[in-house]
């Protein structure tokens, strides 16, 4: 009863500073956990999203740009590939599947990607998971002005089976760049939690033959998504296309390119982590300062407790435990901040990339951070606790004359 009562009463007596300090700890904890979970989940989600295809073939340029454009539907295409190049790779004995895509149009900012129906019927976007059109819909016909809309894009654009739309030219929305062709939605994809959810899929012929597009490039494709028969074939094609050739780029292996990309931006993670560490240190320092500053006011109480028989170590323990309680309180509120921030960040990432973060997924940082923060606060509390430990009882209790 003693220790909890002493801690409770002390926290109550200094309620304002307790709340402010716990608030700063909550912010530090929430930020730290969010940074870690977003980093880890985003990295894992981006890398797992790129497991459907082994490689992306495109015009000469950056491999990362090809992957971002072909798999994640971000960035612009580095250029076009001639139909003959697509045919060449499609017929290559080492290639199991070659899916062409053509980009260059949008519907109010949502990317329109021309492809072949086989992408939606024959390809697994993740091991054991295939695309599926929601009941009541069907995949577009190969030569028709039809579209299958990703679940997220359909929701945001208010499209249903039977809806019609006219594409806008370019990858960014410009209301003056309206194409005259009218497409009819034949199906809505069930959610895949991948970038495909924010894409409007149309037959590749539809994009190639769109009014206003260069007639000379009517058979060109933006990129080819490739599944190989064997991993060794990738090395061979890499040698043939990237090192011996100079017209095209063979982005292989996709997973390694994404991992390399995350490796290159890891400095950003480190900066975020450093900021979070500093916030945590400042929070622990504020616990120290808050309790230390209140020591003069509470010294008499401590002396009274000593006079009643409380031992020095009890007083020391009470102050350290109080600091730990402030840390634990902050960490608990930090979870609320974490869930709020993560939900917000996940929504932004989903809207921007189609990649979905699971806000309910566990992570070691979710218990390490609160524990470490509580321990750090307890450590911060040790400084005022030493002062409390040294409280001279007789001097402090001497009546003021």
């Amino acid at each position: 009863m003693t220790l909890p009562l002493i801690i409770y009463r002390s926290l109550r007596q200094h309620a304002l500073s307790t709340l402010i300090t716990a608030g700063s700890i909550a912010l530090a904890c929430g930020l730290l956990m969010t940074v870690w979970v977003v980093k880890t989940q985003a990295q894992a989600a981006f890398i797992s999203t790129s497991t459907a295809f082994d490689a992306v073939l495109g015009a000469r340029g950056s491999k990362l740009q090809l992957v971002l454009n072909g798999i994640f539907h971000l960035e612009a295409s580095p250029g076009n590939l001639a139909a003959s190049d697509y045919e060449l790779i499609r017929k290559h004995p080492a290639v199991k599947t070659a899916i062409p895509i053509a980009v260059g149009d949008n519907l109010r900012g949502y990317r329109i990607v021309g492809t072949v129906p086989q992408l939606l019927t024959n390809v697994e976007y993740a091991p054991g998971k295939s695309y599926a059109v929601a009941p009541g819909g069907k995949v577009f016909g190969e030569a028709a002005r039809e579209a299958v809309v990703g679940s997220f894009a359909a929701e945001r654009l208010g499209l249903k089976v039977g809806s019609t739309f006219q594409p806008f030219h370019g990858l960014t929305f410009d209301e003056k760049a309206l194409h005259e062709e009218v497409f009819t939605v034949t199906g809505i994809l069930t959610p895949t939690n991948t970038p495909a959810d924010k894409v409007i899929w149309v037959p590749i012929k539809g994009v190639q033959a769109m009014s206003g597009h260069d007639p000379k490039a009517a058979n060109d494709v933006s990129a080819v998504l490739i599944q190989l028969r064997a991993a060794s074939a990738g090395v061979m094609l890499d040698l043939m296309i990237n090192k011996q050739g100079n017209r095209m780029t063979f982005a292989y292996p996709v997973g390694a390119i994404m991992a390399d990309f995350f490796g290159k931006i890891s400095w950003f993670d480190r900066v975020l982590a450093l900021v979070a560490y500093l916030v945590a240190l400042v929070a622990a320092g504020s616990v120290l300062a808050s309790i230390y500053n209140s020591m003069s006011a509470r010294q008499r109480d401590l002396a009274i407790l000593r006079a009643l028989g409380a031992r020095r170590r009890t007083i020391f323990g009470a102050v350290v435990a109080e600091a730990a309680c402030i840390g634990a309180l902050g960490a608990a509120v930090g979870f609320a901040i974490y869930f709020g921030l993560l939900t917000l960040v996940a929504e932004v990432i989903r809207a921007q990339t189609g990649v979905v973060l699971d806000v309910t997924e566990g992570h070691a940082v979710l218990w390490i951070c609160p524990l470490a923060m509580t321990a750090l606060c307890a450590l911060g509390g040790a400084v005022p606790a030493v002062k409390a430990y040294r409280t001279p009882v007789a001097e402090t209790l001497a009546p003021v004359s």
Partner: protein, 236 residues
Amino acid sequence: MLSVADLTKSFVSPEGGRAEIVRVGRFELAAGEQRALRGESGSGKTTFLNLIAGILAADGGRVELDGIDLAALPEAKRDRLRADKIGYIFQTFNLLQGYTVLENVLLGMSFGPRGVDRVHAVELLRRVGLEHRLGHFPRQLSTGQQQRVAVARALANRPKLVLADEPTGNLDRTSAREALALIREVCRENGAALLLVSHDDGVLAQFEGLQDFAVINAAARRGPGAVPADGKEGGS
């Protein structure tokens, strides 16, 4: 029950030298006895009580309580012994302002050997007439009521010895008389010895066992240069 022998305590004086405050050759108090010590402010009475309570460590001598020499004990054991056997009523009551009346008494118990006994705490507060103020904070009580809380707290661990340092110093004459009667009565009921120090003749007149502190404290007899326990002039 309480036996003091050759007890000495000195402090660094403001001038830099050492001023001896307490030099008690012999002092004894029997179990259940009630004794008052008369002494002027600055005569070292509080220091003497603090030495007996083990709040201060003596420079030399013995303070035996039930055969245990407090002066020879390390601080942690002195703390334990104080919680176990001694109740202390301070002049300024020294109630914990952030705690309720009941919590003040319970906390006093919690450091003792028997631990918290809520029923006993409530009974003590009922005995001092505060059963309807259990959830009040000290600032919500009158001075006399605060004094009664201090009495209940001092007796919470069923101490063998109650030390009272000018316990009525902040009360008016009527309240002081009532408070003193209460302290003596409750100590008697609980079988506790009472050692009270005061400079108030009205208080002291109520004690049969009255002793002049200057008689037992050689340091006080040496003159007015004595420095109180807190090292400042003006304490008791």
